[in-house]
Each structure stands twice: as C-alpha cells, then as structure tokens.
C-alpha cells in the first residue's frame, strides 16, 4: 500500500487583513501552519515592506546606508525610490526622528512627513513611532490624523500607550500594530485590552517583538510559533491576528552585519554576510508565522521573495 502523508487540519484561521487604497496589500487568511499549502488554504503571500525614516539614517551601518545614500536625505524621495525603483509593495515609515534622544521632532513635524509621503506614493504605508512609549502616544495621534482614511497601519501600540493609539486608529479609520515584549501571554492580554475598547480584532496586527539572528531570534520564533498554534489548534480568536516581523532594524544591529572582514575573518565578505543576516532572520520568522515583514536591503528582500516563490 502506498504511503499517505498525514494531513493536519485545524479549527482556527488567521484573520485576513489589507492595507492601502490604490495598490492594496493583503495578507493572513490561512488556516494551516506557514507554507503548509498541502494541508489547507494559504490565500496570500507574506508581504515585505521597505523601511524608510523621517530623518537621514545616520545610525544605520555603512553597508545599508550607502544603498540609500542619494535618496535618504528626504523621506519623500526615499519612499518614491523604494516604490518606483525597487518595486516595493509597501513602505514602512519609521518616525525615529521624534525620539527625545534623537532629533526630538514634534507631532506636527511627524504629521507633515506622513502627509508628504502619503501624497507621493500609491502603495500602502505603515507608520511607526520611535518606540518611546510616552512620545509615541502624541506622535502617533498626530500621524493618525494625517493619515485619516488612508487604510494605513499605525504602530506600535504597547501596554503603556495602547489606549491613545488604538483610539486614534479608530477615530481615523486605520489599522493597528500591537507590540508586546516577547511574551505570548502579554501579547494575548494586549489584544484583549485593545479589543475591549471596541477595536475590531480583524484590524489588528500582532508584533510579538522581533529579534535578529544570533540575538534572540529563537525567542521570537518560539513566541510566534506558539501564537500561531493557539490561533489554529485552540481556535483562540484573541490570537488570530497576522504577525509582524520588524526584521531590518534588528538584523542590522547584529555584530555580523557590521563587523569588517578584518574584524571577523571567518565571516566572509561583509556586504554578503550582512545581506544574508537580514534575509535569514526574515525567512526564519516567516516560517514561524509572520506575514508582514519590514526590511532594509533590496538584495535581502529579493532573496526573501525568491524564498516565498519557491515555497508557494
């Protein structure tokens, strides 16, 4: 008798979510583990968004900084470059310049940047604060108003500031990214608190907090995997949101993405090594279940898209 591979099917399903107006992105919607197309429905591919900033990326390592050297002085030029030259499917605008320890830009500055970028692109926008919980509440509120009805993602709402940010999303008809600190129970709790405010759970994306290869990737992987299993096997509606992996900022923090050939002789050519570091971090987290990834290097994005092509 021929061998028949066992098929695992589940009661639960990940919510499908979209962003954008003209050129939409759609992800989530699967009722099986990542890429298990042979067991059920995987209606959408994971989506990669290109990361840009409101201020020049002075703190980015040289290898990635030089890719955007000509365009990164201005977020609008940068966004258009990603859309037109790199064929980006989405842009993730990080308002890092609003951080009090950086340029401490104001909510008005942030709102203007958001407006300008939105006016310049036709692909969906993900608007991110600087991860400073107090400042983000004010910044993201202003950013939300600037992005009203544009079907953007706004984030990241955390335990300390979710009320303001979720309310801003609801008032301006946007979608929300909720981030908790690498803990599945806290992640569930935050989703519950946000939905108890009247926020639609179908408009939420979960960020269980990303870490780069070699710097805690295994923790993120494990939390994502368990969130997805709770969504599918326990049909837990508070855990069925698609998941975000904020890959670029973490991968490019790794020593391996920065150290020169002289400093790390066994690591090979720096540029290839750094790109591989970002690509491997991203592919690992897609296998763990993330459907939306924020990345930096075009070559790493290419590698990830090729990986998705091969698996889907």
């Amino acid at each position: 008798m021929a061998f028949t591979a066992p098929n695992e099917t589940f009661g639960g399903k990940v919510f499908q979510i979209d962003a954008g107006i003209d050129k939409k992105i759609v992800f989530g919607g699967e009722d099986v583990l990542p890429f298990h197309l042979f067991e059920g429905n995987v209606p959408n591919r994971p989506v990669v968004a290109y990361e840009i900033q409101d201020v020049p990326p002075e703190d980015w390592p040289e290898t990635i900084k030089k890719v955007y050297e000509v365009v990164s002085g201005d977020p609008v030029t940068w966004a258009k470059y990603c859309q037109d030259k790199l064929n980006a499917k989405a842009i993730a605008l990080r308002l890092i310049g609003t951080h009090p320890d950086r340029q401490n830009r104001s909510p008005e500055d942030a709102a203007k940047t958001v407006k300008d970028v939105l006016a310049a692109i036709s692909i969906p926008l993900i608007i991110l604060g600087s991860n400073h919980v107090e400042k983000d509440a004010a910044i993201l509120l202003a950013a939300a108003e600037a992005a009203k009805d544009k079907n953007c993602f706004l984030g990241k709402a955390q335990e300390e500031n979710y009320k303001t940010i979720a309310a801003a999303c609801m008032a301006n008809n946007l979608k929300l990214i909720a981030m908790s600190q690498l803990d599945i129970n806290l992640s569930k709790q935050l989703n519950i608190l946000i939905t108890q405010m009247g926020f639609e759970k179908e408009n939420l994306v979960t960020d269980p907090m990303c870490s780069g290869l070699g710097y805690g990737l295994d923790y993120t992987y494990s939390v994502m995997e368990r969130i997805r299993l709770a969504a599918l096997t326990q049909n837990d509606a508070t855990m069925q949101m698609p998941m975000l992996a904020d890959v670029g900022m973490n991968a490019w923090k790794a020593k391996e993405a920065i150290a020169t050939e002289a400093e790390l002789p066994i690591g090979g050519v720096l540029e290839q090594r750094a790109i591989a570091w970002e690509a491997v971090t991203a592919t690992a987290l897609m296998i763990a279940g993330s459907e939306i990834l924020i990345m930096r290097h075009p070559e790493a994005v290419k590698a990830v898209e090729k990986f998705i092509d091969e698996l889907m």
Binding site: I184, N185, L186, K188, Q189, N191, I192, L193, Q196, R226, A230, Q234, D236, T238, M239
Partner: protein
C-alpha cells in the same frame, strides 16, 4: 465543558408557577440569562409530568427556543412528553439531549424515542435495585446501558453517562466514588464515553452560603478527570471551568482570561 443551564426546573417556585400558567415571560427571561452566562444547552425539567406532560414539554421547548439559539435538554421521566418535545425541537443549534434513561427496564422506551429522533441521551447509572454502592458498580451498570443502547441502534457516542451525584450532607463517601466513576466511564469505549453530572445535587441540603463552594470544587475535580458536561448554573461555575481550562493548557493564559 458543556454547561447545561439548570435553572428551568419545576423545583424552583418561580419556574413552577410560570409553567402552571403557561407564562412565557419568566421562562424566557431565565433561558436568555443562562445563555448569556455561558450555558451551551438549556435544561427543561418538567418533573414526572404525568398529566399534561406532552403539552408542557412542547411548550417549554418552543418557549425556550423562541429566544435562545441553543439546543434543549428534555428532562422528565414521561416518555410521551419527551417525544412531544423532540417533535418541536429546532436542531439548528445542535441536537437535543434527553435526561434520562437508566438500567431500569421501565426507562428503556426512552431509547427508542432517542433513536427515532436522533437525540442524544443521558444514561443514569442506576438500576432497578437502588443506588449503586461504588464506582465499579456504576461502571457495570454503564456497560449494561451501553449494550442496551447498541441493541436499540443508538451509537454510544450519543450517550452521556451520569454517575449520579449524591448529597454531601447525607452520603459523604459517595463523592469520591462519583469522581472515580467519571474516570472509569471514559475507559469503557474508544473514543472515551461522554460523561455528565447534575452538579448542584452535591450541595443539596447544605446551608446556602456554602453551596457554591462545594459545587465549584467538585466540578474542578470532575473536570480534571475529563467530565464532558454538567447540568449547572453557568454564572456560578464559569470561573472554575475557565481556570481549569487554563491550568490544563486548553486555553492560552492572559490576565483577562476570565473576561473572555
């Protein structure tokens, strides 16, 4: 855990009066409350109902299902009343459950009715000769009920075995035997047999302030052993069920788990 809302019982004065007057108001109010509180099925206990049982059960089933999208547990010894209730039962939200048959030949006709209407059935593990002494005796009776059900053409998956919870205040030694029975019953079949208890019977005769404590702790132990369903007050046992679900890893913990 399936909670079968216990509040629509002829034993309760308000319910009895409403039933006597065919007054839908209180019946529907209690049914809706139990549904909102988390019951997955509503028990309609009309007692032995020797006179007018058919009309009464028919009225109860339709009255409940007019306002609550749940199946009904038809609770009476009157076979004709059960059949009348099954005829009008709306299966859209699940199959009805009959409470109950036992190993007493007088209760076998209920099996015929259950098969005819494809209803699920509670098998109370008592025989004609009085109450069972221990878990082994209950399991013996359970096997006989299962064999009888198969004779009538009923899948044992449709049978819920009830070990018969007795009063703590009068028969303390029986409580542990009930817990053991729930475990033993499951071993009588693969997949495991379904089990059910009339939970609050344990605290009958106890001072009222103590009753909920006894009910909840017994349920914790029974649920740990694999109990499928309980005829109980959902508002009273919700916390217990959710907390055991979390402890057993069936639900992912979050600080707000009780609110979900």
């Amino acid at each position: 855990m399936l909670i079968i809302g216990e509040k629509l019982s002829i034993i309760a004065k308000r319910v009895r009066e409403a039933m006597m007057k065919f007054d839908k108001g209180p019946i529907q109010e209690i049914a809706v409350r139990q549904w909102k509180e988390g019951s997955g099925m509503i028990d309609a206990n009309i007692g032995p109902a020797e006179d007018g049982g058919e009309k009464m059960m028919e009225w109860m089933v339709t009255t409940i299902q007019e306002v609550v999208p749940l199946p009904v547990c038809l609770d009476t010894t009157n076979v004709k009343a059960i059949e009348a209730g099954l005829k009008v039962h709306n299966g859209e939200w699940g199959r009805p459950l009959i409470n109950s048959t036992s190993n007493d030949p007088e209760r076998f006709p209920i099996m015929e009715v259950a098969v005819k209407y494809q209803a699920q059935l509670i098998g109370l593990t008592v025989g004609k000769g009085g109450l069972p002494a221990d878990a082994e005796e209950r399991a013996g009776i359970a096997s006989e009920i299962m064999a009888r059900a198969m004779e009538y053409g009923m899948p044992v998956e449709d049978l819920y075995l009830d070990p018969l919870v007795l009063q703590m205040a009068t028969t303390q030694d029986q409580a542990l035997k009930v817990i053991q029975s729930v475990k033993m019953f499951q071993e009588l079949n693969d997949p495991p047999m379904k089990t059910v208890v009339g939970l609050s019977n344990i605290s009958n005769g106890m001072p009222k302030p103590l009753r909920h404590i006894m009910n909840k702790h017994l349920l914790t132990l029974l649920y740990y052993e694999g109990l499928t369903a309980a005829i109980a007050d959902a508002a009273e046992v919700n916390e217990t069920v959710k907390t055991v679900d979390v402890i057993m890893g069936r639900i992912l913990y979050a600080h707000s788990y009780l609110e979900m």
